[in-house]
Symmetry: C2
Subunit: 366 residues, 2 copies
């Protein structure tokens, strides 16, 4: 037992992993260039074959008229909301209290765009149609995140989603999809990306979540909307002379993994079942609706951390690289199933969970 090792460093030493696609190393990018011709021209400030072809491909996949590649979702989404607010003449949008823009972007939406958010629902549950109806304030745009990442990746029923979309359309409220993990929910809904996107006026998707690319995002909608997003991309400093390192790798990993979303989803369901058999352990949601879920442990962070570090060392199998405290006596982590899960044999999975059950049973009994 090594006491001065962090869960992150212990995880990094594991060969097998329940979650993720493997290490984020520079080989991830190098691989995507192996079959490329080095004479291929760079994109130039948003123009050129590379970027235009990928944009067209994604617009088609997402069932929209047009698409624009952005270096990040942070940039793409602020810009989407700004365009809708300018269009409606009101700098107010509604979203969930745990929306990425509210908790991970240093208030860029407020400080750069002067847009005020109206928070709907509470931190522990999804936005409902009633929340939208009872928002109490005029808004230009509603942002929905599917799945709602910070509560384990939850999804509304499809009928509820359709009802929210219809209501917004009727009320003249623009509906924007934070689809950072859109590809990952297609198996659960049993819909195409285009079917889901047709409920929204604008959609952002990411290429480094389930797709596992290096970085990059697509923003899509009608042509008027996407054309308006380009000068904003320039204003944000995202209209780089060359974005091809992100475009090439996004396209490469999209092709490699878009067909595996069902596999990741089924893996997440199996894994959640296993975790729910462990003492002091519950997954959120209980039955995953995408490749992701959260695991809540009813034990102090330091204790769970040590149990996991020991487990990684004994088995060479990693579960997660970090735990976050909820309070003194509980903590949680996030699991996103990717390529690594399929490398594990049933025997390895049984071994790791029988050990985990033992270790968690012993917590607090020393």
């Amino acid at each position: 037992m090594t006491m001065n090792q962090t869960i992150g460093s212990a995880f990094n030493k594991t060969t097998y992993r329940l979650s993720g696609h493997g290490p984020r190393n520079i080989g991830m990018l190098m691989t995507t260039f192996h079959d490329m011709n080095e004479d291929t021209d760079s994109d130039m400030y948003g123009k050129g074959k590379f970027i235009e072809q990928f944009q067209e491909k994604m617009a088609e996949f997402l069932g929209k008229e047009s698409a624009v590649f952005f270096p990040s979702g942070t940039m793409a989404q602020q810009i989407a909301l700004r365009i809708w607010c300018d269009r409606q003449g009101l700098r107010k949008v509604a979203y969930h209290p745990l929306c990425h823009l509210e908790i991970h972007e240093e208030d860029g939406l407020k400080k750069l765009h002067g847009i005020e958010p109206v928070l709907l629902a509470d931190r522990s549950r999804l936005i409902t149609l009633d929340d939208v109806k009872n928002r109490g304030e005029d808004i230009s745009c509603l942002l929905l995140e599917l799945p709602q990442r910070e509560i384990g990746g939850q999804l509304p029923d499809y009928a509820e989603l359709e009802a929210i979309s219809a209501y917004c359309h009727e009320q003249g409220i623009k509906l924007h999809l934070d689809g950072a993990r859109l590809f990952e929910i297609l198996p659960y809904y049993g819909k195409t990306a285009a079917e889901i996107c047709s409920l929204f006026d604008s959609v952002y998707v990411s290429f480094y979540k389930g797709i596992g690319g290096v970085a990059g995002a697509i923003l899509t909608g009608d042509s008027e909307f996407t054309e308006e997003s380009k000068p904003w991309k320039r204003r944000h400093g995202g209209d780089l002379i060359s974005l091809y390192p992100y475009i090439i790798s996004s396209d490469y990993y999209f092709e490699q993994r878009i067909g595996k979303m069902e596999q990741y989803y089924q893996g997440a369901r199996q894994l959640a079942e296993w975790f729910n058999r462990c003492p002091r352990t519950a997954t959120v949601p209980e039955v995953p609706v995408s490749n992701m879920f959260h695991i809540h442990f009813a034990a102090p962070q330091a204790q769970v951390e040590q149990a996991l570090i020991d487990l990684y060392e004994e088995t060479g199998i990693g579960i997660t690289s970090n735990l976050r405290a909820i309070d003194e006596n509980s903590c949680y982590t996030e699991i996103s199933v990717g390529d690594k899960y399929a490398e594990l044999s049933s025997k390895q999975i049984e071994t790791v969970f029988s050990l985990l059950i033992r270790k968690l049973s012993l917590l607090g009994k020393a």
Copy 2:
């Protein structure tokens, strides 16, 4: 003579070139990865060995306490000005009418940061100490661009620069350097980068101008300033999970070309002499002070364009990929000397200029 060819496509077919480092193709990035170990970890949201080491290296080279890597100069400079404006409690900055922020950034500074520019000097000349003294308005920050790109890459005398710096310091005005082409002016001033940067509170440098990298920028200053820039980078959407494609290539080409700035500068001086011997042709500045200059032709754009296209086809030597009209009877282009110039023999240079002299003499005489 091919009539339906653009100057850009004709230039792209040339093997030899008076300007630039060669084509911007994806091989430029691939080359920089050849000797890298693919297990090397990615940077992660601004943290990690890669990004931190390069930031430290650049801070040292530029003689500042600390540095932050940005995907673009557009992002870095707006943020620098915003920090100084917040510090001074006044959203007003002064810069040249042809400043990058004024003409190439879709008014990001105004629309994202609400910062109002005070334009100093006029479009045809550099900002002087008198312009700064007679600005007529309070400002938080003065931005100087060295060299002033849009007027051919001109520079003030070093003594004037020192006087402006001293005046700003005395008046409590922050001084920011747009050093997109800072490395390129070191030979003319005969100063180190650190000596020049010591006159400024904050400095931005680019890695895809003279350095010829893929993209990327460094913003540098004291630690308090650079720490404050990081949440702004996140707000702009530039705090990417992985910036290593730009960092690795910036570092690679910095090492490859930082020692060649004298060579590029001398090349520009030689080339400008040649152009000034051509009819209807004058360079701005007459004697270059960096690797760059503009060429003004006293003839209509279409005529000069056709003469150049013919020249490229006859010699296989390219001069520029584009011309811009000044008015109906004159046009100009920009030359930046890089690695390609050194590939030309004296004989090739004599041939191309004797042909150019002939073609320009014949203009309008058909």
